[in-house]
C-alpha cells in the first residue's frame, strides 16, 4: 500500500482555502440545517487522503460513494483509478455525504453552513477548482431527497442502489470501487436550483453532444459548445486541458438507442443509470425479453441455488448464448461490448445493437483485448 503523502503544501492549501472561502460567506446565509452528526476520525482521514490523491492525479472532482470506503480503496488506486474514479457518477444521493462535508469542515476549522453562494468566478481556475468544489457547502435537504435526483427520469433500477451494490455485483472488471468525495462544480449544487424543469435538463443533456455538430457549426467553440454531457464523450479525446473538468453532482441522463436484429422499432436506454456491464445487460435482457426468448425455465432464485449463490452471467455477456451485444463507437466501428473498462465504453459508445450470434460471425467485428 503506497501511503499517500501529506505535504505541507497540501495542508497550507487547505487552510488558505478555508480562509478564502469563509470570506465569501454572505451576510444573509440561511441557517444551518443539519447538526454535525456521525463524523469519525477515519472518515476525516479518508476524505483527506482522497483529496490528496485527486490533486496528485489532477483530475476532475468526481462523484462517488460515501467516504467510509475510501480508506480501503486507497490502497488499490492505480493509474486506472483515474478512469474508475470517473465512473460512478450516478446518484447525487449519498447518505454519507454529510460526513464528507463535516469532515472537511472540521479539518478547516469552520462551522458548517448551508449552501453558500459560490466563490466568484475568479476562484474557478486550475486546481483550486477541486478544492473549491469539495468545500462548497451543500444544501442539506438535497442529501436526503434521495430519490429526487436532478435528472428525474431515473430508470427502474435505482441508481443509488447501484452505486452501493457496485462492489458486490460489478467487481469483475476492477479491483475496488473508489469512493472519492462527490464532485462539485464551482456553483454549489443545491437541489432544485437553478429552477429548471427536470425534463428540460435532460433535454439539454441528451441533445448536447454531437460530433458532427461540432464540425459543421464553426462558430461553436468546442469548449463553449453544448458539452453538457460533460466528459463522458470528451474524456478520451486528446485535449490537453489541465483545467479540471467539472463534474457536477447532478445525475444527467445518457440515453442511447438500442436496436435488436429482427425488431424494427428500437428502444432507448439510459447508460448513466448503470455503472457496469452487468446491470446494463440485465436491463436490456428485461427490455427485449431475451431470457424468455431462450426459454429460461428456472427462476432466478433456483438458478442461484444451483450456481451456488453466484449469479449467472447475463445472456448478453455470456459468450455461449444466442445473442451478442455490440456497440458502435465514435469512429463508427462496431465492437463487442464488454472488452474495455466501463468508463471507456461510456465515453465512446454511440449506440447499441443486439445481434443474433449466427449473424455476427459474418461481420468483421472488432474486438478489444479480451476474448469473447
Amino acid at each position: 500500500m503506497a501511503p499517500p503523502l501529506i505535504t505541507t503544501t497540501t495542508i497550507s492549501l487547505l487552510f488558505s482555502l478555508h480562509s478564502f472561502s469563509s470570506s465569501l460567506i454572505p451576510k444573509t446565509t440561511p441557517r444551518i440545517a443539519q447538526p454535525l452528526l456521525r463524523f469519525s476520525f477515519l472518515d476525516f482521514l479518508g476524505i483527506f487522503f482522497s483529496l490528496k490523491v485527486e490533486s496528485l492525479m489532477r483530475t476532475a472532482v468526481v462523484s462517488g460513494g460515501g467516504g467510509l470506503n475510501s480508506i480501503g480503496s486507497m490502497s488499490t488506486l492505480s493509474s486506472e483509478e483515474k478512469s474508475m474514479v470517473m465512473s460512478s457518477e450516478d446518484s447525487s444521493s449519498y447518505p454519507d455525504e454529510p460526513e464528507l462535508e463535516l469532515g472537511l469542515g472540521l479539518s478547516l476549522g469552520g462551522g458548517k453552513a448551508k449552501p453558500r453562494p459560490p466563490p466568484a468566478k475568479a476562484a474557478a481556475a486550475g486546481s483550486w477548482d477541486q478544492y473549491a468544489r469539495i468545500l462548497t457547502a451543500k444544501d442539506f435537504p438535497s442529501m436526503v431527497s434521495t430519490k429526487a435526483s436532478s435528472s428525474s427520469s431515473s430508470s427502474s433500477s435505482s441508481p443509488a442502489a447501484k452505486a452501493n451494490n457496485n462492489n458486490g455485483s460489478c467487481g469483475t472488471k476492477r479491483t475496488a470501487e473508489p469512493s472519492s468525495p462527490p464532485g462539485r462544480s464551482a456553483v454549489s449544487q443545491v437541489v432544485g436550483w437553478p429552477p429548471i424543469r427536470a425534463y428540460r435538463m435532460n433535454s439539454l443533456v441528451n441533445h448536447a453532444k454531437s460530433p458532427a455538430m461540432e464540425e459543421s457549426a464553426s462558430a461553436i467553440d468546442k469548449s463553449k459548445g453544448m458539452n453538457l454531457v460533460l466528459d463522458k464523450t470528451n474524456y478520451s479525446s486528446n485535449r490537453n486541458h489541465n483545467v479540471a473538468k467539472e463534474r457536477g453532482l447532478v445525475k444527467t441522463s445518457l440515453f442511447i438507442k438500442v436496436n435488436m436484429d429482427g425488431i424494427p422499432i428500437g428502444r432507448k436506454v439510459d447508460l448513466s443509470a448503470h455503472s457496469c456491464y452487468d446491470s446494463l445487460a440485465h436491463t436490456l435482457d428485461h427490455m427485449f425479453k431475451l431470457s424468455a426468448a431462450v426459454g429460461a425455465t428456472r427462476s432466478k432464485a433456483e438458478e442461484e441455488v444451483i450456481m451456488g449463490g453466484k449469479r449467472r452471467p447475463p445472456i448478453l455477456l455470456d459468450s455461449s448464448s444466442d445473442f451478442v451485444l455490440t456497440y458502435e463507437d465514435k469512429e463508427g466501428d462496431w465492437m463487442l461490448v464488454g472488452d474495455v473498462p466501463w468508463e471507456m465504453f461510456l465515453s465512446s459508445v454511440r449506440r447499441l445493437r443486439i445481434r443474433r450470434t449466427a449473424e455476427v460471425n459474418g461481420l468483421g467485428l472488432m474486438k478489444g483485448t479480451g476474448d469473447s
Binding site: 454572505p26 444573509t28 440561511p30 441557517r31 440545517a33 443539519q34 447518505p95 448551508k114 453562494p117 468566478k121 474557478a124 444544501d139 435537504p141 436526503v144 431527497s145 434521495t146 430519490k147 429526487a148 428525474s152 427520469s153 430508470s155 427502474s156 462544480s185 464551482a186 456553483v187 449544487q189 443545491v190 437541489v191 437553478p194 429552477p195 429548471i196 424543469r197 427536470a198 425534463y199 428540460r200 435538463m201 433535454s203 439539454l204 441533445h207 448536447a208 454531437s210 458532427a212 455538430m213 459543421s216 457549426a217 462558430a219 461553436i220 469548449s223 463553449k224 453544448m226 453538457l228 467539472e246 457536477g248 440515453f255 422499432i265 428500437g266 428502444r267 432507448k268 436506454v269 427490455m287
Partner: protein, 588 residues
C-alpha cells in the same frame, strides 16, 4: 341517458327554496339556459353564490371542471355537486416538484378520480392533467370507461408507459387530442403509435415530443396522412429531417409543428425538397423541436416563418449569428423561448427584428456554471425591452443583473404581467454597485401595476418584501428563494398582496412568526410552500390547530432534526387530510 335540459332539475323541487326566499323572477329553465353560456370559472363561482336556486342552476349547467389542487377537494364531493361534467382539468403536485424537491411517490395519483368519473361522468370528453401520477392502469380505465372521450393532455405527468398509451390508442375511437408535454417518464416504448386502428382519422392534436421512444415511422406517416384535420403535430427526436419532410407533405395545413432531429446529412436535392415542404406550410404559427439544428439546416425553415407567432428554441442551443438570421424571417413573433447561447448579441437582434414580442423565456445552457460561459446579462434584457415594448411575460436566467437595468426595463415595458428573473447565483448583489437587488424589484412592483406573477432572486433584504406587500395589488403568484432577512419580510407579503394565491418559498430566514402571521390568508390562497426555512414542527402544529380547514403537511426527511420542519406544504381543503399520504408526509 342523454344529458339534456329536459331532465328534471332539482331546482324544480319544492324543497330547494327556503321559506324566506322570494320567488325567482325567472323560471328555472330560463335561468339554466342563460347560465349554460357562462364559461368563465370565476363568473360561475360568483353566480353560485347569489342565491340557492342560482347555485343549483349553476351546478347543473357546469360542464367544465377545474381543480387547481387535487387535494383541496375529494372526488365524492365533486361528484355530488356537479352532475354533468364533460371536461376536467386537474392539477396535482406543487410546482417545486418540477425541480425534484418532492420525493417520488408523494401522491397526486389520478386513479381514484378516474374511478369516480367512470361512475358519474360516463360522457366525459376531455381530461387535462398537470403534475399528476398517471399509471397504465389509470390510462386503461380511461380508455375503456368513456366512449365519447376526445382529448387527453398530460403535462409534467409521470407513471405511465407504453401499455397505457396503447390502451388509449386502441380504444378511444373519437380521440382528437393526445398531448403529452414534458413527461417525466423513462423510455416509454414506441409501440403505442401503431395501435391506432386503420380507419382512425379524427386526430387533431398529436404531441409526443417529450417521450423517449422510437415509433414506427411508417405507421406515423399513415396516421398523419389519414387525419386530415390534424393541426398540431409534435414529434420527438427519433424522427429525422427527411422523415419530417414526408410528414409535412401529408399535412401542409399544420398550425403547430414540433420537428424531430434537425440534423441529418442531406443531399442537395433533399435539402431543396425539405425547403419546399416547409414553404408549403403557410399556416404555421408555432414551431418547436429543432434538436441539433445548425446554421446549415436552419435556412430550410425560413419559408414557413412568415406567420409564426411562437418560436420555441429551448431545445437547440443556437449562436447569435444564426439566431439573428432566423429572426429576420419571423417579424410576427409574439412568443420566443430560447437558450442563452445566443447571448446578448442575439437578444439585440431580437429587439430589432420582432417588435410585436410579448413573451420571452431565456433558459441557461450551463446552469451549474461548469463552463463559465457568459450567457446573457442585463444588457441583453435591456436591448429587448427597448425594441419590444409590448413585452408582458419574461423568464430570464442570467448570471448578473443591476438595479439600474431593471428600473429601465420596466420603464420601457410597464405592462408586465409575469416577471420571473432568476439570477442563478443565490444571494448575488447588483454586480456594479454591490448592493442588494431591492430597488430592482421595487421598480417592478411600482411600475407594473398589472403584475400577476413574480419570481425574485439575487441578494434581497426585507425591503423587497415591504415593497411587494405595499404595491403588488394584483399579484397572484410569488416565488422566493435565498432572500429576505427576517420574518418581517414574509409578514409584509402576507399582510399586503390582496390577490395572492400561491406563495412558494425556499431557503429563506422566515420562521414560525412569519408562518403564523398568514393564517387567515392561507384560506384565501391555493397553497403555500416553504422549504429549508426556519419553520419548526411546533409552529406547524400550531397553525394546524388554529386553522382546521387547512391541511398542514410536513415532508419528513430522514435523519433530520425532529424539531425542524424542512418542507412544509399548506393548502386549503374541504376534503380534510389526505387519505393517501405516504409515510413521509405528516399531516398535522
Amino acid at each position: 341517458m342523454d344529458p339534456d335540459q329536459s331532465e328534471d332539475s332539482p331546482s324544480n323541487s319544492a324543497n330547494s327554496h327556503g321559506p324566506t326566499q322570494p320567488q325567482s323572477p325567472f323560471p328555472d329553465e330560463v335561468l339554466e339556459k342563460v347560465l349554460s353560456f357562462i364559461d368563465s370559472r370565476k363568473d360561475r363561482s360568483s353566480v353560485s353564490l347569489v342565491r340557492k336556486d342560482w347555485y343549483n342552476a349553476e351546478r347543473w349547467t357546469r360542464s367544465k371542471l377545474f381543480i387547481g389542487n387535487c387535494y383541496s377537494v375529494s372526488p365524492e364531493i365533486v361528484a355530488r355537486r356537479f352532475p354533468r361534467i364533460k371536461s376536467v382539468t386537474l392539477k396535482g403536485k406543487p410546482r417545486f416538484s418540477d425541480f425534484n424537491m418532492l420525493p417520488r411517490d408523494w401522491g397526486a395519483n389520478v386513479h381514484s378520480w378516474l374511478v369516480m368519473f367512470a361512475k358519474v361522468y360516463p360522457f366525459l370528453e376531455e381530461l387535462r392533467l398537470k403534475r399528476m401520477t398517471v399509471t397504465d392502469e389509470s390510462l386503461e380505465l380511461l380508455a375503456k370507461s368513456f366512449p365519447r372521450f376526445k382529448a387527453l393532455t398530460l403535462s409534467s405527468c409521470d407513471g405511465f408507459s407504453d401499455n397505457g398509451l396503447k390502451a388509449i390508442a386502441s380504444h378511444c375511437r373519437n380521440l382528437t387530442e393526445l398531448d403529452i408535454q414534458d413527461s417525466v417518464t423513462d423510455d416509454v416504448g414506441g409501440g403505442w403509435l401503431s395501435c391506432f386502428p386503420e380507419n382512425f382519422a379524427s386526430l387533431e392534436v398529436l404531441n409526443f415530443s417529450s417521450l423517449n421512444c422510437e415509433v414506427s415511422f411508417d405507421d406515423l406517416e399513415r396516421l398523419v396522412g389519414r387525419c386530415k384535420s390534424l393541426r398540431v403535430l409534435k414529434v420527438n427526436d427519433s424522427i429525422t429531417l427527411d422523415q419530417l419532410r414526408r410528414l409535412l407533405v401529408h399535412a401542409p395545413q399544420l398550425m403547430e409543428l414540433g420537428t424531430g432531429s434537425f440534423m441529418q446529412e442531406l443531399t442537395p436535392r433533399q435539402y431543396e425538397d425539405i425547403e419546399s415542404a416547409f414553404s408549403n406550410c403557410r399556416n404555421l404559427q408555432v414551431l418547436s423541436g429543432l434538436w441539433e439544428a445548425t446554421s446549415l439546416y436552419l435556412p430550410v425553415l425560413y419559408g414557413a416563418c412568415a406567420s409564426l407567432t411562437f418560436l420555441n428554441l429551448s431545445d437547440v442551443a443556437l449562436q447569435s449569428s444564426e439566431f439573428a438570421k432566423l429572426l429576420v424571417h419571423c417579424p410576427n413573433l409574439r412568443r420566443l423561448w430560447v437558450i442563452d447561447t445566443v447571448e446578448d448579441k442575439g437578444l439585440e437582434a431580437l429587439g430589432s427584428s420582432c417588435p410585436l414580442l410579448e413573451e420571452l423565456r431565456v433558459f441557461p445552457s450551463d446552469p451549474y456554471d461548469r463552463h463559465h460561459r457568459d450567457g446573457v446579462t442585463e444588457l441583453g434584457f435591456l436591448a429587448v425591452s427597448r425594441g419590444c415594448r409590448k413585452l408582458r411575460y419574461v423568464l430570464y436566467f442570467c448570471r448578473r443583473m443591476t438595479n439600474a437595468a431593471v428600473v429601465t426595463i420596466v420603464q420601457n415595458c410597464p405592462d408586465f404581467t409575469h416577471f420571473r428573473l432568476c439570477i442563478m447565483t443565490p444571494g448575488q448583489p447588483d454586480y456594479l454597485t454591490n448592493e442588494p437587488m431591492d430597488e430592482a424589484f421595487a421598480a417592478v412592483v411600482k411600475t407594473c401595476t398589472k403584475l400577476k406573477r413574480l419570481s425574485v432572486s439575487g441578494l434581497l433584504t426585507d425591503l423587497t418584501f415591504e415593497y411587494i406587500g405595499k404595491y403588488a395589488k394584483n399579484l397572484e403568484t410569488l416565488s422566493v428563494a435565498f432572500a429576505g432577512s427576517s420574518d418581517w419580510g414574509m409578514q409584509c407579503v402576507l399582510e399586503g398582496c390582496p390577490k395572492l394565491r400561491k406563495l412558494e418559498i425556499r431557503d429563506c430566514p422566515f420562521g414560525n412568526a412569519a408562518l403564523l402571521s398568514g393564517r387567515e390568508k392561507y384560506e384565501m390562497m391555493r397553497s403555500l410552500w416553504m422549504s429549508s426555512c426556519n419553520v419548526t414542527m411546533k409552529g406547524c402544529r400550531l397553525l394546524a390547530r388554529e386553522m382546521p380547514r387547512l391541511n398542514v403537511e410536513v415532508i419528513k426527511d430522514e435523519g433530520n432534526d425532529d424539531g425542524q420542519a424542512d418542507r412544509v406544504y399548506v393548502y386549503r381543503s374541504v376534503a380534510g387530510p389526505r387519505r393517501d399520504a405516504p409515510p413521509f408526509v405528516l399531516t398535522l
